[in-house]
């Protein structure tokens, strides 16, 4: 939880203003907003990389101001946007091993976790490969694996879908779902409005270092004024619904996911064609 958090960089740039944000265990939250809105700064205060200039960040009800980054990183795992900022080892296996070494666990446990994570991320075949010989998408996957293997309670992703192809995005979606079912809290910083609309139930919208909206995604991301004020574009599905509305087809607000809209429309069109048949008789 964040209470009245302000943050200013040493050059005087104010990045966060009066942030009050509560995230419960098991929540799945997107943080969105234009560039420079303060999204990345906000997540960096969660594990102590940045310390608020005012206000308090609480983790499990405890003030984190006197806790070390090493200590907080066991609970909060942040996966940064650029995977190349993390990777340095000779092999994929060593890269995962580096993340596990700082945890207070036995060698056997480290070995077992490495095997599990390599299998989960389909990296068995790349075990001995240099991380620098992986493709962009695979590097990103490895950076994610090197945090997920530490099993933190809170997983924070900075732009996980950036530069990923469809297969890699599907992998991330499956991973997120599996972590959610394990009871993990997931926070995602993203510009990908379609991804958020489809998969993330809660959205926090930021502008100029402040939170301007926080609520169910289907309300936040369909609010035309909010979206316009944060320099974003309405999700395609919402634009489609508005276009349909203009020709007299009203899809209820609670239907906002792609598949649900398709099903609603096919049902609607079935009735419509029936009406036409009945009318022609």
């Amino acid at each position: 939880m964040m209470q009245d958090v302000d943050f200013a960089y040493s050059d005087g740039t104010v990045a966060l203003r009066r942030i009050n944000l509560g995230i419960n265990k098991g929540d799945f939250v997107a943080i969105m907003g234009q560039n420079g809105a303060g999204k990345t700064t906000l997540i960096r205060t969660l594990n102590g990389l940045l310390r608020p200039t005012n206000g308090t960040v609480f983790l499990d009800g405890q003030d984190i101001s006197n806790k070390t980054i090493a200590n907080l990183s066991q609970k909060v795992g942040i996966i940064f946007q650029n995977p190349m900022h993390q990777l340095f080892s000779n092999t994929v296996e060593e890269e995962i091993n580096f993340s596990l070494k700082s945890l207070d666990i036995s060698k056997e446990e480290i070995k077992s976790r490495i095997n599990t994570i390599l299998k989960q991320f389909d990296f068995i075949r790349y075990r001995e490969r240099s991380p620098f010989n992986l493709s962009g998408g695979e590097s990103k996957k490895l950076a994610i694996a090197s945090i997920v293997c530490r099993n933190p309670d809170i997983l924070v992703f900075d732009e996980p879908t950036l530069g990923q192809d469809e297969k890699e995005i599907n992998f991330i979606i499956n991973l997120l779902n599996s972590e959610i079912t394990k009871g993990k809290t997931i926070i995602i910083v993203t510009h990908n409005i379609e991804f958020t609309m489809e998969y993330i139930p809660r959205t926090v919208l930021m502008r100029g270092g402040q939170i301007v909206a926080d609520g169910p995604t289907e309300y936040v991301l369909t609010n035309q004024n909010l979206i316009k004020n944060t320099s974003m574009v309405l999700p395609y599905i919402q634009q489609f619904k508005i276009a349909l509305q203009q020709v007299g087809i009203n899809i209820p607000d609670e239907i906002f996911k792609k598949q649900d809209v398709i099903e609603y429309l096919s049902e609607y069109l079935k009735n419509y064609s029936l009406d036409v048949k009945e009318g022609s008789n």
């Binding site: 040493s10 990389l49 990183s73 900022h85 990777l87 070494k101 700082s102």
Partner: protein, 258 residues
Amino acid sequence: MSLEFLNAFKFLKRDTFLHNLDPRSKLLFALIYTVGALLFTEIIPLTFLFISLIPIILSGRLLNKWIKSLRGLSFLYILIIILNTLFIPENGFSFAIAMVLRISIMVSAFSVFFLTVDPNDLALSLISMKVPYEFAFSFSLAFRFVPTISIEAQNIIDAQQSRGYEMKKSGIINQIKNLFPLLVPLIIGSIKRAFNVAEALESRAFGSNKDRTFYFSIKYSYKDWIFTIYLLVMLFLLIFIRIEFNSMPSWFSWGFPL
């Protein structure tokens, strides 16, 4: 850990006497102060030289940045003082203080240079000194990337700390080993960036024409000449003091009794 002290070397555009000087006169300033610092191993002349920097720094309104750059070297200062005091049998502490002053003078001189010289002007001044354009451009480009690399280094530190990396480890071997998670991504990232920049330049026909024109020009003004004369007089004075050091008053070679 923060690499904010690197910002103390980042150019900041301002309208001051020092900022408006020609980059060549500021390069001469940095070189003469470096030579001056290297001429002496005694505390008193180095202290004078150090003090003579202060009005120049004040004229560029750089006091805070300068203090930050010196503060960033505090670890090195402590190391110099401890090692010299322990391993130099006679007047080790005095020598250590002199070395701290020497480094401070050199760092301050170059810090003033980097803080007040626009990378574009640097390339122009090198060209005016007959340095080939390719070399001048590469030098100014390297100069321009210092803040970018410092931001990247900070991101790498943050990313590694997020997976349990600890900055401080005991033992020299462990400390050296501990640098790998930071240096490998930084070096690889820098090499990749260098290739990208090279490709981007080539795709814009860099070097296709030997005789090129320049949008901006630099000029050695009367202020630069005054500053240059001051620097040259100071250099001759320093060389004279060095040669005639034995005939100088005895307090010139004062040191701590350690």
